[in-house]
Symmetry: C2
């Protein structure tokens, strides 16, 4: 294509997937832009970073500096939430080029009369834009440049810093080249900096044997704050399925009185937009959110897209499930693991648009109830495009909403989910233990392009993971794990009070908690913060 642009812009950084995926920042962070900016020949070029918030009409501009070896750099701050676009412009700067050229010729002892005449032509169009003081200066220069009699003054001013600054201030962008547009999404600060505390509301009661409630949770808020947490994440608070309900320790048949897994969502009491009756009412949930705010704590909700067999969706939207030739729906499984109490959503069904819409509506419903943080359960078993869409749709209306991806899975899958829009991601920290492992993992997170889109949240434990190195571990190990999480990442989380009480009895040979709260209520003495000695040490079983 015939095109007179002479500057070429290449290797722009930061950027992900050549700009098809946005990079991430939080408010008041910096974007440090690098690029190769080239021209043919030896002319002096200039380059700028142009950037603009999605709601702004006018681009802001910051001039790039040559670092050397054709590498240029400039930085800008992102001060508002939302999308910013940035791009690079480059051009041959004929005025600066003229100044550079005349300087070399003067040094070389050449007579530069012809060059001064050229310079006068460069000054004339600037006079129209310049301020009063600059105008007077430039008019004098034009006069000197055009008459031999002021030659000595003319060549002195031709190479002066004053003139240089005017040329920089009023660039004439001749045949300007532009990079493509790149996008950065700017979140609120909590997307980057957050401290999470997870506990099961149903275990929050002071009375042994009694089902905890939102009111009990309110009572625990000062405790959570005193430990230094600013996010309180509750496992699902929705009605728990009664059909195929799991018993204690994940046994297949629930006994009378068994409470079932909180992730087996949906029953005759309702589905994803409803509250498990024993926890309290919607108003009590809203009251908890409101009280938490006073303690500078945000309540994070679990978002788990799956259904108990008695979830209302199963009858109302049978197309959202995959029916087998024998008329059943295959329960969720990952052999040998079986989740008989859960039916997976059928994402490949024909009615997927209504399904996606309902999933979005569910999120918007809870956002309107005051929830601004969602911990998404197993996002890696739902389509990437769905997450990309649903997160973008929520954020269009509510830019404060933050999503944490609970994907403990293959590295590229976790990275891709982050690219789809998750503000935070669970990480491999839970299993990283040796110095070598930490160096390798921290390099991956901070020295590769992951740093532009992946914001890891470091959890020493979760209700699903009682890691081997914590089983039978003593206080120093717990402190170590907490200190590592808190210093290596700007977002951390623990599942308590199991963590701070150093409870770590496991199913034999498994990284799972014995008597897991996922399937039963546990009674704690919530009045203390830490259990000072290890339970296993007390019971004499500490062998490591």
């Amino acid at each position: 294509m015939l095109n007179q642009e002479r500057v070429v812009i290449d290797y722009v950084s930061p950027q992900i997937n050549n700009g098809d995926v946005f990079i991430k920042r939080v408010v008041n962070e910096i974007i440090n832009v690098d690029a190769h900016v080239l021209v043919d020949g030896h002319d002096v070029i200039a380059a700028s970073v142009l950037y603009k918030h999605e709601k702004a009409k006018i681009w802001k501009e910051v001039r790039m500096q040559l670092i050397g070896n054709d590498e240029w750099n400039a930085s800008f701050y992102v001060e508002k939430q939302g999308f910013y676009t940035y791009k690079i412009q480059g051009w041959v700067d004929h005025a600066l080029n003229w100044q550079h050229g005349i300087e070399r010729k003067i040094e070389d002892g050449q007579h530069v009369n012809s060059e001064l005449l050229e310079g006068a032509e460069l000054l004339k169009p600037i006079i129209k834009k310049a301020n009063k003081e600059e105008k007077a200066y430039l008019e004098t220069l034009v006069d000197w440049f055009q008459s031999e009699k002021n030659y000595d003054k003319a060549i002195k001013e031709a190479v002066s810093d004053d003139l240089h600054e005017i040329f920089v201030k009023y660039p004439k962008k001749f045949h300007v080249s532009s990079s493509k547009d790149f996008k950065v999404y700017v979140d609120r600060k909590k997307a980057r900096f957050s401290t999470w505390y997870e506990f099961f509301p149903r275990s929050a009661s002071e009375t042994p044997g009694q089902h905890g409630t939102f009111k009990d949770c309110e009572r625990l808020l000062p405790r959570v704050q005193n430990m230094g947490f600013d996010v309180l994440y509750l496992p699902p608070i929705h009605p728990i399925g009664e059909v195929n309900r799991k018993g204690k320790n994940n046994t297949e048949k629930a006994q009378e009185g068994d409470v079932g897994s909180t992730w087996g969502i949906g029953s005759k009491h309702g589905g994803h937009k409803d509250i498990h009756p024993e926890l309290g009412s919607l108003n009590e949930f809203k009251a908890l959110i409101k009280s938490a705010k006073k303690y500078n704590i945000e309540v994070a909700m679990d978002y788990a897209l799956q259904a108990a067999p008695d979830h209302p969706w199963v009858k109302e939207h049978p197309e959202w499930f995959k029916w087998r030739p024998d008329g059943t729906v295959q329960y969720a499984e990952n052999p040998p693991k079986k989740y008989q109490d859960i039916l997976p959503i059928y994402w490949e069904g024909k009615d997927y648009k209504n399904l996606w819409k309902e999933c979005l509506d569910t999120l918007l419903y809870w956002v309107e109830c005051g929830v601004k943080i969602f911990r998404v359960d197993n996002p890696h078993t739902k389509p990437y495009h769905f997450w990309n869409w649903v997160i973008a749709e929520v954020k269009k209306k509510h830019e404060d909403v933050i999503f944490l991806a609970e994907a403990f899975t293959k590295p590229k899958v976790m990275a891709r989910l982050a690219k789809e829009g998750y503000a935070q991601s669970y990480s491999y920290f839970t299993w990283r233990n040796s110095k070598h492992e930490f160096i390798e993992y921290m390099n991956e997170l901070t020295q590769t392009d992951q740093r532009e889109f992946m914001q890891p949240n470091f959890w020493p434990n979760t209700p699903d993971i009682n890691p081997y190195h914590l089983q039978g571990a003593n206080e120093s190990k717990y402190l170590q794990r907490y200190a590592l999480a808190a210093t290596l990442s700007s977002s951390i989380g623990i599942y308590g009070p199991v963590f701070e009480y150093m409870i770590n009895d496991a199913l034999p040979g498994r990284e799972e908690y014995l008597n897991s709260e996922k399937y039963q209520i546990t009674h704690y003495d919530w009045s203390i913060y830490f259990q000072l000695t290890n339970r296993n040490e007390l019971s004499g079983t500490f062998l490591n």
Copy 2:
């Protein structure tokens, strides 16, 4: 955007600038394609590389293999010159997924009747596409899968390799995802493998003091072939300017009889489409090309876009030059170097379209005379977009044409010219001498993305560069430089007979030849191949 594709394709390699720039190969080379191919959940996926020559109507397909960690790979050969397009497709393979699932359940001891019914539904659409033998087999299977009485045979065949191969052969691409299109340009083999010999035709005469001719060059062809070269590159053969002609050793004023620089192109005898009268006629040039072919040698022409002050362009197209306010055109210079015998082209002029067209016409003219290789002089002082355009235009009509970029300049500029379409590039080999330098430089050329677009040509010397390490060097150093060039790169070149005669007298303190042939005729005894001892040793000045 609502979209039911479930597979995500990322980090496709090889590719340059996310596909905006094509990669390069020569005929019969391989493209080894890697990509991350991901799906949500645990379904079995499949992926293919699709590729197509620009003139083909139908895509060829090669299935990718999972290497591990979600990395997939496949390879294909490029057998024809021209552009190929390649892309990756990925999809959830429900048939393979079904087979994988039923296998795990059978191993787990489950009864899989419902799964067999599902399997029968997967087989039915394949029967329509299958060949006779496959059809009979599949019909039997449908029968067995649907009746309990053949259960044992059914589950054996369900997991069989036979069925697996049928599923692979007839994939049902459900909601297939596709990467963007990537391009590879396939050149003839010489683009990658070539051995260049450069000499000045005007020095080719057997008779001292006589101007060499194309006829003299013909006489030297067996010598060039015997040394193992397959490209004979001649410095410009066009009329040499008479205005401001340079004298010997680049002196500013030519003396009576001085022949001038061959790069000072254009005089009353014509310009870039004409031949310097003293070298012979156009027919004699064509005869040289024809003779060379018999020796398996191609004649490469110099393409130097600049004009002597008396070049016909200056009068006919004054808009192609930049006129200063004093009515002169500034001669080319790179202070303190001055090229008083050359006017640079003004690429920013308004008549640039006609200029570009004339540059293209010039190339096409010589291609039609039989020239298929151009060594382009100083391409880095002409716009990148121009090269991109002119090379593409020539190759559209004449795919055999090869361009070598004589850009000894900054690394990113050299790389970018290669991206614009140059088949070969001069390299820093000329100045790389230590082991460390070689390791570093060879890593850059072969282990970075440069290997996909930069084909370096290694020259131990050129008429412009008499490198310090060859000044006063002995035979072993010359052999070493040649051996290094010939083994480290698949394209090499020397400027002779200066190189093989180990002539290396330099301008004091400069990497330039004394009495350079750029400005004068030299008489050689062409009857010998190598001068066995170093000239400087003979004259007792060998000190190193």
